[in-house]
C-alpha cells in the first residue's frame, strides 16, 4: 500500500519541518553575526594596542638615541640609560610580538624593526657609548632603517585595522543575506508542502461535493470514489455508507408503497363481488314493496342505500389505487362538450330537485370539442355537482357552465352555499377530507370524490382549482385542452329534446 499519512500528521510534519528550518537558519545567522562582531572587536582592540606599542617602540628608540648621543653641552653618553631604553624597546617589542598574532605582514615588519634596532645598537649606539665614533654614513643609514621599519609597522597596523573593519562589514552583509535567503527558502519549502497538502485534498473533496449535490438531486445510486488523505478517504467512505442506507430505505419505502397499493387494489376488487350481491338483492326486495311490511321495506331500503354507498366508495378507492399505481388509463378523443354536459346535468337534476335547489346548466355557443375521455369527464362533473348538492343548503342555487378560455375549455360548478374558509380550501382535494362546518354531519360520501376529480383532470393534462369566500358560496373550476382539429359543438336534435325534458 502507498504511503498515505493522515491530514493531521501531514500538517504536524509540515509545521515541524518549517519550524526546524526557521530555527536553524535563525540560530546559524545570529551566531555567525555574533562571531563576526566579537572577532572585529578583538581585532580593533589588538590593533589599537599594537599601535600603542609601535609608539612605545618609537619612544624607546628616541631614548636610545638620546642616551647614545646626548644633546651638545649636556652630558656624556650613558651606558645605563642606553641599557634602560634598550630594555624598554625589548619589552615593547615582546608585547608587540604577542599582538601581531598570525598577521604575517605585521610580524615581518616587527622582526625587521627588531633586527634593524639590534644592528643600529650594535654598530652605532654601543660604539658611541664606548667612545668610538662610527662613520656618519653608516650611522645615518642604520638610523634611517630603524625609523623606516618603525613607520612601516605603524602603517601596516593601521591598514590591518582598516582591513579588519572592511572584512567585518562584508562578513556582516553576507551573513545577513544568507539568513534572508535561508528564511525565504524555509518559507518556500513550507509553501510547497502546504500546497501539496491542499492539492491532495482538492480532487477528493470536489468529488464529495459533486456527489452530495447529485444525491440531493435525488440520484440515490450516487457513490464517490474514495481517495486522498486518510480523513478525506474516511469521509468518502462515510458518504458512500450514507448513500447505501438512503438507497436501501428508498427501496424499502417503494416496496411498502407497492404492497399498500397492491393491498388496496386487491381488497377493493375482492369487496366488489359481495357488495354487488348485497346491493342486487336489496334492490330486488325494495322492488317487492307489496309483499313486505313497513319495517321490512324500511330495512331493505337502508340495506340498498348503504350497499350503494359502499359500492361507490369501493369504486372510488379502486380508482385512486389505480391512479397511484399508474394503472388508471383514460382514452382521450375529440369529445363534444354540449351533449356531455347536458347528459351529466340530466342525471344529476333529480338530486337537486330533491333538495329544492335551483340548478342551471349553460354551455357557451360554439365551444370547441375537448380532448378527453367522456366517461371520466362525466365522472368529474358528477363528483363536483354531488359536492355542491350536498354542501349547499336547501333552496340554494347551483350552476354548471362550460366556456372557452384561450386554448382550453373551462368547466365550472358554482353554488351560493356556505362556502369554505381559506384553510379548508387548502385541503379540499385531500383524500378522506370533509368540510367540518354546518350541515356536514348529515352529509354522506366517501371524501374521495374531489381527490378522484383532481387525479382524473390531471390525467387529462388539465388543472382543477377551488375558490370560495366563507358565507358566499364556492366555485370549482377545471380546464381541459381543446381537441386538435376539434369542431365547435353542434347541438344535436336528440340531445336538444332530452335536454329540454327535465328542466
Amino acid at each position: 500500500m502507498r504511503f498515505n499519512p493522515s491530514l493531521t500528521s501531514r500538517l504536524r510534519i509540515g509545521f515541524l519541518v518549517l519550524f526546524a528550518l526557521l530555527l536553524l537558519v535563525s540560530l546559524l545567522g545570529v551566531g555567525r553575526l555574533f562571531q563576526v562582531r566579537v572577532n572585529y572587536e578583538d581585532d580593533i582592540t589588538r590593533f589599537s594596542q599594537l599601535e600603542l606599542e609601535s609608539e612605545r617602540l618609537r619612544s624607546a628608540f628616541i631614548l636610545e638615541q638620546a642616551a647614545a648621543r646626548p644633546a651638545i653641552g649636556q652630558k656624556l653618553p650613558s651606558q645605563t640609560e642606553l641599557n634602560r631604553a634598550a630594555a624598554n624597546f625589548s619589552e615593547a617589542a615582546g608585547r608587540a610580538h604577542d599582538l601581531t598574532g598570525d598577521e604575517a605582514g605585521l610580524s615581518s615588519s616587527l622582526s625587521q624593526l627588531i633586527a634593524n634596532e639590534a644592528a643600529w645598537r650594535k654598530k652605532v649606539a654601543q660604539p658611541l657609548v664606548n667612545g668610538n665614533i662610527p662613520s656618519p654614513g653608516l650611522e645615518s643609514r642604520l638610523t634611517k632603517e630603524v625609523t623606516n621599519s618603525g613607520d612601516a609597522l605603524a602603517t601596516g597596523t593601521r591598514s590591518a585595522r582598516d582591513d579588519s573593519r572592511d572584512d567585518a562589514r562584508a562578513e556582516t552583509r553576507n551573513t545577513t543575506l544568507l539568513v534572508a535567503a535561508g528564511l525565504a527558502g524555509a518559507l518556500l519549502a513550507a509553501l510547497i508542502l502546504f500546497s501539496g497538502l491542499i492539492n491532495s485534498m482538492r480532487a477528493p473533496l470536489g468529488r464529495l461535493v459533486e456527489g452530495a449535490r447529485r444525491l440531493a438531486g435525488g440520484d440515490l445510486r450516487t457513490r464517490v470514489e474514495v481517495g486522498g488523505p486518510v480523513e478525506i478517504a474516511t469521509l468518502g467512505r462515510a458518504f458512500n455508507e450514507m448513500a447505501n442506507s438512503l438507497e436501501r430505505d428508498a427501496r424499502e419505502r417503494d416496496r411498502i408503497e407497492q404492497m399498500k397499493d397492491d393491498f388496496v387494489l386487491t381488497v377493493s376488487h375482492e369487496l366488489r363481488t359481495p357488495v354487488t350481491v348485497v346491493k342486487g338483492f336489496a334492490e330486488m326486495l325494495t322492488a317487492q314493496r307489496k309483499s313486505l311490511n313497513a319495517r321490512q321495506y324500511e330495512a331493505a331500503e337502508v340495506i340498498a342505500e348503504s350497499s350503494a354507498q359502499l359500492q361507490k366508495m369501493i369504486n372510488d378507492l379502486l380508482d385512486l389505487a389505480r391512479s397511484d399505481a399508474g394503472k388508471l388509463r383514460i382514452e382521450p378523443k375529440a369529445t363534444p362538450v354540449e351533449p356531455l354536459v347536458q347528459r351529466v346535468g340530466r342525471q344529476m337534476r333529480p338530486h337537486f330537485e330533491e333538495r329544492h335547489q335551483r340548478f342551471t346548466v349553460s354551455v357557451e355557443n360554439d365551444v370547441p370539442e375537448v380532448e378527453a375521455d367522456a366517461d371520466r369527464v362525466a365522472q368529474v362533473l358528477a363528483n363536483l355537482l354531488t359536492n355542491a348538492n350536498k354542501y349547499a343548503q336547501e333552496g340554494a342555487q347551483v350552476r354548471l357552465t362550460a366556456t372557452r378560455v384561450g386554448d382550453e375549455v373551462e368547466f365550472a360548478v358554482s353554488d351560493d352555499g356556505p362556502g369554505l374558509g381559506g384553510e379548508e380550501l387548502d385541503h379540499v382535494f385531500d383524500r378522506f377530507w370533509r368540510a367540518q362546518s354546518g350541515e356536514t354531519q348529515e352529509v354522506g360520501g366517501t371524501g374521495l370524490g374531489l381527490a378522484i376529480a383532481k387525479s382524473l383532470v390531471e390525467l387529462h393534462g388539465g388543472a382543477i382549482s377551488a375558490n370560495s369566500t366563507q358565507g358566499e358560496g364556492a366555485t370549482f373550476r377545471f380546464v381541459l385542452p381543446i381537441a386538435k382539429d376539434g369542431q365547435p359543438t353542434r347541438t344535436e336534435p336528440a340531445s336538444r329534446t332530452k335536454a329540454g325534458a327535465p328542466g
Binding site: 363481488t273 330486488m284 347528459r343 375521455d373 367522456a374
Partner: protein
C-alpha cells in the same frame, strides 16, 4: 318470454342475477363456468336462449373462450359480456372478439336490463327503464 343464459363463477352473484332477472320476467338458465354454459346450450336444443350473458373472467373456461367457441360454431345468439376490467379499451376488445355488447362490473341494474332488452330485440319500454341508454358514447 325472453330466454336468457347467464354464466358467472360467483354462485351468489349468479343467484342474485337469476332471482332478479326472473322477477323482471325472464326465463333464466345459469352456468358457473364456460363448459357448463356450452353444456346448457346443447341441452336447450331448439329452445335456444335469446341473449347470453357471460362473465369475461371465469375459471376452467372463461367467457371470452365461450364467445370464441360460439362464433366458431356459427351461433348468431347475441352475447352480452360482463367485464370487471375498467380499461377504456375493453369494450372494443370484446366487440372485436364477437361480443354484441359489453357492460362493466359493477353496473346499475337499469343499464343491464336496457342492454338485454336491446339485444333481445324488444321494443324500448315507454317508462323509466333507460335514461342511461346513451351513457356510453363509445357504445353506439
Amino acid at each position: 318470454m325472453t330466454r336468457l343464459l347467464v354464466a358467472d363463477d360467483s354462485e351468489t352473484v349468479l343467484l342474485m342475477l337469476e332471482r332478479r332477472l326472473e322477477m323482471e320476467g325472464y326465463d333464466v338458465v345459469t352456468a358457473t363456468d364456460g363448459f357448463e354454459a356450452l353444456e346448457r346450450l346443447r341441452e336447450a336444443g331448439s329452445q335456444k336462449p335469446d341473449v347470453i350473458l357471460l362473465d369475461a373472467m371465469m375459471p376452467n373456461m372463461s367467457g371470452t373462450e365461450v364467445l370464441e367457441q360460439l362464433r366458431i360454431q356459427g351461433s348468431k345468439i347475441p352475447v352480452l359480456m360482463i367485464s370487471a376490467h375498467l380499461d377504456a379499451q375493453e369494450p372494443d376488445r370484446m366487440r372485436s372478439l364477437g361480443a354484441s355488447d359489453c357492460i362493466p362490473k359493477p353496473f346499475e341494474w337499469e343499464d343491464l336490463i336496457g342492454k338485454i332488452e336491446e339485444l333481445a330485440g324488444n321494443p324500448p319500454s315507454d317508462g323509466d327503464s333507460s335514461p342511461d341508454g346513451d351513457s356510453r358514447p363509445d357504445a353506439g
